[in-house]
Symmetry: C2
Subunit: 371 residues, 2 copies
């Protein structure tokens, strides 16, 4: 795929990644359709799913299409879902409101996009130095997070389900070496959300640049650095052609949960089988997207290594320690924003601490000494 094609129709992105590429086709396996469904009859539904992603957006947009197809098959054709990219039916950042109001029945996006309206929502996506995918899933699914999320979103007439995860993201593309925390001083870097506040706290200049203008801004030196997602999406954006250094890890987004939301009133009115079919398919998307991110990022990291002379580096432990200290203040402030944030953050923090102790005897040792 050429960068030019990739950029075709590139949408405005104020918070994070929305970009447009042509639909990449399937990937997820759906049982062959030669068998007729076993359902004889039942009321039929046509629902709309609005997303914050451009149509066919790799991994995430594809996962939404696969979700819709799974639901169609599981429901014996009773539930047909049309998936819309950001801007096709409503602007990307109005997904939350559109599903809340019932303009569409389903939404897919990320909680931190609506942090301005619902500050506690970002704890259900990712915060700097927060939990990774495994931790977020354990907290939400089995550690009490889902109940708090249900309560929070019920006030907006929404039912939330975790339905995708990016895994640990990359730290970004730089045209300056970052050898210590001091090197962030004066650095003009595209960085959204709480990450921007951390960057500012260590002396950097966080800049908001739309996804469609990122390549040109970095190429012309309007910015010194930009974060995006991980090797797969970053490669498609072409940053390796214009940046010298690619730093890891994405301390600002260690495992972003992508959320599916249902209009609560309409969801509650559905028969029980269709409710369960949609929730279960959303959970399927959660694992499929994470696994697809892992598989594709492995492949594309190798491509970047082989095809380019970009230096792929890790931030030094000291640099990360400095960022962590700055993040602690920023995240604690976000967790004290309102009553809902205090409640959610308390649960998040407690789970993160418990799981960190366990993973120091499990996953951490796996990555350090087993693999």
């Amino acid at each position: 795929m050429q960068r030019k094609d990739f950029f075709k129709g590139l949408a405005l992105a104020t918070v994070s990644a929305p970009i447009v590429i042509k639909a990449l086709g399937g990937g997820g396996e759906v049982t062959a359709q030669h068998e007729a469904p076993g359902v004889i009859s039942g009321k039929r539904y046509k629902w709309k799913m609005v997303t914050t992603w451009p149509p066919g957006f790799p991994v995430v947009g594809e996962g939404c299409e696969l979700f819709a197809e799974k639901v169609r098959v599981m429901s014996g054709g009773r539930m047909e879902i049309e998936v819309y990219g950001g801007g096709e039916l409503v602007p990307a950042l109005e997904v939350f409101g559109a599903v809340s109001d019932g303009a569409a029945e389903i939404g897919h996006g990320a909680g931190y996009y609506w942090a301005g309206r619902v500050p506690a929502a970002q704890f259900f996506t990712s915060v700097p130095f927060g939990m990774n995918a495994q931790g977020m899933n354990a907290w939400i699914i089995n550690g009490g997070g889902q109940k708090l999320w249900d309560e929070l979103y019920a006030d907006y007439n929404l039912v939330p389900v975790p339905a995708g995860n990016t895994g640990v993201q990359m730290g970004g593309w730089f045209n300056r070496e970052i050898n210590s925390l001091a090197d962030f001083k004066g650095l003009k870097m595209r960085m959204p959300g709480l990450g921007a506040k951390v960057l500012q706290a260590v002396g950097g200049a966080a800049v908001l640049v739309a996804g469609s203008e990122l390549y040109t801004s970095l190429e012309r030196g309007v910015i010194d650095a930009t974060e995006w997602i991980g090797p797969y999406h970053d490669y498609l954006m072409g940053f390796h052609q214009i940046a010298d250094y690619y730093y890891a890890p994405g301390w600002h987004e260690p495992g972003s949960v992508l959320e599916m939301t249902f209009n609560k009133e309409k969801f509650d009115a559905l028969p029980a089988d269709l409710q369960e079919i949609m929730k279960t398919a959303a959970h399927w998307s959660n694992l499929w997207m994470l696994s697809e991110f892992e598989a594709k990022n492995s492949t594309y990291l190798a491509k970047i290594r082989q095809e380019t002379d970009v230096e792929i580096r890790s931030f030094t432990p000291d640099t990360l320690n400095g960022l962590r200290k700055a993040a602690a203040t920023v995240v604690a402030e976000a967790g004290d924003k309102d009553a809902a944030s205090r409640k959610v953050y308390a649960s998040f923090k407690q789970f993160q601490e418990a799981t960190a102790r366990w993973s120091s005897f499990s996953e951490r040792l796996y990555y350090e000494d087993l693999q």
Copy 2:
């Protein structure tokens, strides 16, 4: 729960963990049933699911029950599944054959239980110094593993789906310090499967002890050490009462996939909606069980710390390096056992190497420097 109750009815375990406890109740959330299903009619099925786990076995047996309940709701009551513990309908280690023959329509267990009959199967569970849960899921779901697994099991009239994962296990309970590889010399340790071969290669004596006799064997010094699963299940077994040291990590099982199998002939004859409902629910179980293991292990590691004076330790990097070298030979031999093993192992190994390079910039840095 008292250890005595936990042991009540403890089943024979030749390969790994089957033990019996009382059913622990729900945990997974299933949409409320006040809404009638939307399905008006359709053929009804009553299927049997045989498992290698005792009824109500924490996390895993519970997950099977939740799977059956989800399928019942999603199918509008058309598919009812009765879950049997190991030994209730067929012996635990005959699950593979029973589903293959059609004595039961569904099975739940782990591929390495049938390594004697299908050597390549263990690569779809876990091998010493193999991949963790995230790697196994990415390989199976999005890295070509599922296709190889389908081919392998089709010869046995089975359709396999990943439906659970233990996460990184613990290294076991010891009444001797393990400070270096040399300390394994002469150590009598309960260790099944390929792990046993690795233990023998470094001078230990791998012993096969049934789960029901493990506590007594360790207490009386018949064995010096035993592995089991992780903090939650190990605590319920009571090992903290009779062992001095609890070592991490479980190098022999870094992320064991639990498998669901369907009788292929019967599965293929199902209508498409029920096929998709069951596969999707199995994927749901995969994520639910892993998340439940993570949440419960975090809690129970803390309990072991607080309630006992067991020393929780990590093997030294040198010790693990020695085990890794021994494992490389053992695993390569297993991967060269027959044509199917060679094909599966080649794919497994290639994916493991690619994902290891990517995770050295993502998950590894997360565990070392972010959390």
